[in-house]
């Protein structure tokens, strides 16, 4: 429908930085996959931020060679000279829609990231990369960029409050496009995808989209005859599953996901108690039933003897098949996923892997009620009190977008409100 409405409107794809995965082998696979994807999408420019350098300058340089887009940063600098590590700015010359009042424009981009005094990357040879104040960097480089560009766009990865100060130091910026990269600022309360930012500050339009690639920020530009922005129309496009997939990229992302899962599987199984005989002197795994200071996980089957009705409800529910969802989606060795699909993952006596702890796969009784060994030995009323508010710790908007408590809770209801046997 859009293609019919706007067949001739050119598009410029850019990233505000911090798109690189974690500095782990799995994160590396994600990052390489993203570069391939961004190349395929035709990204033109990315802000260079701290994540891109997390695994060192050399690896960044290797990835930079693969990237078919340009990195910019005005405030990631060499400590000895104060010169930017990559170009602080760049110009993208692009034609405009046929019929526009100007034929083409020069879009000037500047990259700005948060200033972290603790950030320091040493490069082989002894040089060091540090951050400097982004406001000072903007104040320095925007005037240099101004005569070369018709429109100035700052790609920023920093605290939103800090980004709001940028136009005060560099009034000629037309657009600030970004995301909030400060640690701890992606919690539910402050996610910018919950509260997308779109404000006008002088001539500058400041726009933040959400994180994790779940949203696209979109700015439609209309120019006057002097190649200046006459007006804009902005939106944040949520990439929900209603959007269809593009086949080739879907295959690429699937291969990345499978590679990560296989890596995780190899790592997990190598560390599994079933992987190899324990070396001499290794601490023995406590035998089942050994007295423990803290209650341990026992698996849902052990609950059925007394709680047959509750067990029957559970067995018919999606919780009893939750692990299969991960298997089907090639995520069954993804540490970020297992916690909500198995019992007690990363907790003492909890799920380890499918061979070591087969009774702890799926969401089971103890997922909500806690480890049950002590209750098994000494049944008492009041064990495992919980609350339906606990559901949302896993049924998040991201992973369970259809979750509606009034519809979902009846499917697992195994308690009586008046005579609660929770």
């Amino acid at each position: 429908m859009f293609s019919k409405s706007y067949p001739a409107s050119p598009l410029l794809l850019v990233d505000a930085g911090d798109w690189t995965g974690d500095p782990t082998p799995q994160g590396g696979l994600q990052t390489d996959g993203l570069i391939e994807g961004m190349n395929a999408l035709g990204y033109k420019v990315s802000n260079l931020s701290l994540r891109e350098l997390a695994q060192g300058y050399d690896l960044f340089q290797a990835r930079r060679k693969k990237a078919q887009f340009e990195f910019v940063s005005a405030n990631l600098v060499w400590q000895d000279t104060g010169e930017p590590v990559v170009s602080p700015t760049t110009i993208v010359k692009t034609s405009l829609r046929d019929g526009a009042r100007s034929k083409d424009v020069r879009i000037g981009f500047i990259g700005l990231t948060r200033h972290d005094p603790a950030f320091l990357k040493e490069v082989p040879g002894g040089r060091r990369i540090v951050t400097i104040d982004p406001l000072a960097a903007a104040e320095k480089w925007v005037p240099i960029l101004k005569p070369k560009a018709d429109v100035i766009v700052a790609l920023v990865s920093m605290d939103l409050d800090k980004a709001r100060q940028v136009p005060k130091k560099a009034r000629d910026i037309d657009l600030i496009l970004g995301g909030d990269g400060a640690p701890g600022r992606t919690a539910m309360q402050t996610r910018t995808d919950d509260f997308p930012e779109d404000t006008q500050m002088g001539r500058t339009r400041l726009m933040y989209a959400g994180d994790q690639g779940k949203f696209l920020g979109e700015v439609r530009l209309f120019f006057d005859g002097d190649r200046k922005i006459a007006s804009t129309q902005r939106s944040v496009v949520g990439l929900s599953r209603e959007w269809p997939d593009e086949e080739k990229l879907a295959a690429l992302m699937e291969s990345v996901k499978v590679a990560i899962n296989e890596y995780n599987k190899a790592q997990t199984m190598a560390q599994s108690p079933f992987a190899a005989p324990a070396p001499a002197g290794a601490p023995a795994i406590p035998p089942a039933g050994a007295p423990a200071a803290e209650p341990t996980y026992v698996g849902s089957e052990r609950c059925a003897g007394c709680h047959d009705q509750a067990f029957a409800v559970w067995a018919k529910s999606g919780h009893a098949r939750a692990f299969q969802t991960l298997v089907a989606n090639q995520q069954d060795f993804n540490p970020k996923c297992i916690g909500c699909h198995a019992i007690g993952y990363q907790k003492r006596s909890g799920y380890v892997d499918p061979k070591a702890t087969p009774t702890l796969i799926n969401v089971g009784c103890e997922s909500c009620h806690g480890p049950g060994s002590r209750h098994l030995d000494q049944p008492e009323k009041g064990f495992g009190r919980t609350d339906t508010a606990f559901c949302v710790s896993c049924h998040t908007r991201e992973n369970s977008p259809d979750f509606v408590p009034a519809e979902y809770i009846p499917k697992v209801r195994h308690w009586d409100d008046q005579h609660t046997r929770r």
């Binding site: 598009l11 993203l34 100007s102 990865s157 997939d245």
Partner: protein, 80 residues
């Protein structure tokens, strides 16, 4: 929890839609996955997959559109 697909993949579709690249079925209110050729794909009788994309904001044709992502942090897709 229903499977969802890689977000970067959706980004291409959305971006292409924004660019007018032709992935959307021109003029259609819904984007309907075409039926596979005989003998291929889903078994006979399987329900057609219908994807209803969210509407994009309407307005005059822009002279240029800038589309941006932020804070992707290596994210590919949710758990399932």
């Amino acid at each position: 929890m229903k499977p969802r697909t890689p977000l970067l993949v959706k980004a291409l579709v959305a971006a292409t839609a924004l660019a007018g690249g032709g992935i959307w079925l021109a003029g259609a209110e819904q984007n309907v996955t075409p039926a596979p050729p005989a003998g291929a794909g889903a078994p006979a009788g399987a329900p057609a997959t219908i994807v209803t994309p969210p509407p994009l904001p309407q307005g005059p044709a822009p002279d240029l559109a800038i589309v941006f992502t932020a804070q992707v942090v290596g994210y590919i897709e949710p758990c399932g």
